[in-house]
Symmetry: C2
Subunit: 386 residues, 2 copies
Amino acid sequence: MSRTSLPATTKLGFLGAGQLARMSALQAFRFGIQIAVFSDRTENEPVQFMTPFSTSGSFDSVDDMVTFAKECDVVTLENEFISSEILKEVQEKSGTPIFPSPESFSLIENKLIEKQTFENAGIPVTPYKLVKSKEDLEDFGKEYGWPYLLKSSKGGYDGYGNETVRDLNSAAEAFDKLGGSKGHDILAEAFVDFTHELAVQVARNETGTVVYPCCETVQENHICVAVLSPAPVSDEIRKKAQDLAVKATEAIDAKGIFAFEFFLTTDGQVLLNESAPRPHNSGHYTIEGCITSQFENHVRSVLGLPLGSTKMNKPAVAMINLLGTHNRPAQTDHIADGFNQEDGHLHVYGKLDSKVGRKMAHYTLLGDDLNTTYKLAQKLTADIEI
Amino acid sequence: MSRTSLPATTKLGFLGAGQLARMSALQAFRFGIQIAVFSDRTENEPVQFMTPFSTSGSFDSVDDMVTFAKECDVVTLENEFISSEILKEVQEKSGTPIFPSPESFSLIENKLIEKQTFENAGIPVTPYKLVKSKEDLEDFGKEYGWPYLLKSSKGGYDGYGNETVRDLNSAAEAFDKLGGSKGHDILAEAFVDFTHELAVQVARNETGTVVYPCCETVQENHICVAVLSPAPVSDEIRKKAQDLAVKATEAIDAKGIFAFEFFLTTDGQVLLNESAPRPHNSGHYTIEGCITSQFENHVRSVLGLPLGSTKMNKPAVAMINLLGTHNRPAQTDHIADGFNQEDGHLHVYGKLDSKVGRKMAHYTLLGDDLNTTYKLAQKLTADIEI
């Protein structure tokens, strides 16, 4: 049943107190509803400066999360760190619905299951194999060539939990480091030659499905440094990625906002790389770039509201991730150029401590031509220290 | 000195915990800073669901507000209910700057001083007189004709504190009702024949001045029911209103966001009616309608940041105020049409109790043609109950 009424006391709970909860909360507030956050950290998270309803506890404790969920009307995710089994128990014991549902999440909660789910749905994925022994490591290298990637099946983001291995020795070492010898599932994944990394967000609920433009994520050292939308590839490729992303949400009966990352290979294939059952860094540009942001459609989708248009407001958008440049109490310096640019939008995440390389803020610039817009956005943010 | 750095611990304090604080706070959060609110109410205000830093006290108590201000880096206003003398004392004793400054505010803090300030600056205002006796009431009627308006000089909004008087008897009665016999300053103001009510927002600080498009406010029973931008009047008239609004901010050395309401008289004059040293209902359309919203420029201006572009994102914007239709715990019903419209944006204020006629929410629709957009916005919101 889609929702046609919003009581003022509606409370949306976030399991996780990171940036994505913070940015979705800003949208929830626009609908006049309240938000609550459940944090597994001891330090203050920025979203906790935005609500009096903040609880701390463990992502492994059903009881902690049941107490939290009982205070909420709907609970949603902002990371992938809780197991679907635990989510299911929290949902059952609290009586509060969780979206994306534990059932959907169980189909993508670790990299092995995720690959199998999407492969079974006919979505091309990067070649992979569950590796359990030195022999497996060697076989994979023989079949797909060196180097390749080892990934811990659970957890990991921004390149953490991934290791590039160049030969059997480094493979064995990385296998140990990722916990393979302790019984953790480790995936070998072939390197694919690609020209672009693409991403697509999809929001879906009982009222329908909306798909965002296919954008490019520009990566340096496995960290996304910029997002360009629409991706500078052919209409046909963008359409292909969008179609696959929608198909992927159908395969898991998704309700919520999801992000899908793809490789466009040198021979023109679009291969699904990773998925996320939540708003995603690749969709931050949608705040100003699209009529309805990924955060608004996050809130709409989990509340059962009709979904909003994903059309772009301008022909081109560049989003620059502003990574920490210092280890220090956070402050954003040299921001005037960014502020002085028409249709340039600075978002600072309010993290109290800056660390070199940590995602601290982003800057979105709207324009008419992608290349010009990207170059200008880079120039305007070049002096920012944070 | 304009600001070029934003520490993460920057805390912006709002004296007042109403909707305008709430909407400015949403923008402050985008810059990663923290907000605190000082409320003079006993009941929970929606903004208090958005921050753990909430204090209650009296707008007459310097001590209450000094304690609050000391916790903030900058304090700003969201209403006109505190006297400039008290604000000055709070600023001095706390050491925390208040913007708009007590000095600026002292020049507009009551309707009499406001009229004199702007008249002295050469800005045409509606004809008025301070009335102190039955004789004054009669004289004003003779000079400007009946009916005319009586206004209490201090306080009053949305038509409260105003009385239309048709003859000497009703004038004497209203004079008493508004506190004239208790020594409150009462202003008589001539009715002017007008074709449109216009409004202009201006943001100003040490980095410069930006002026928003001149919009029309559509009023019913002294309550604004809709705002149309740009106002459907000539370019020349809009320019005139904008110029007068900028001149008005200069006259009070404004730092912050200000709104100015004008009458366009049947004989083509643009007369300043009222001003507000804060975001204003007439500027809610700027959230989606302009590149930088009045709330963002509120935050930018009081923090000393460069101001953002006020250009419109689409040629036409209609904003419909959604007034309470029931006396009940607040909930917004029949919202699907509004959500289903591309570029229609629902904002609900999160007030816990709905009262008939109370401003509870608004709906903004962007389009290409003002008349079509206004009609469609009215249609899409016609069934909403709240």
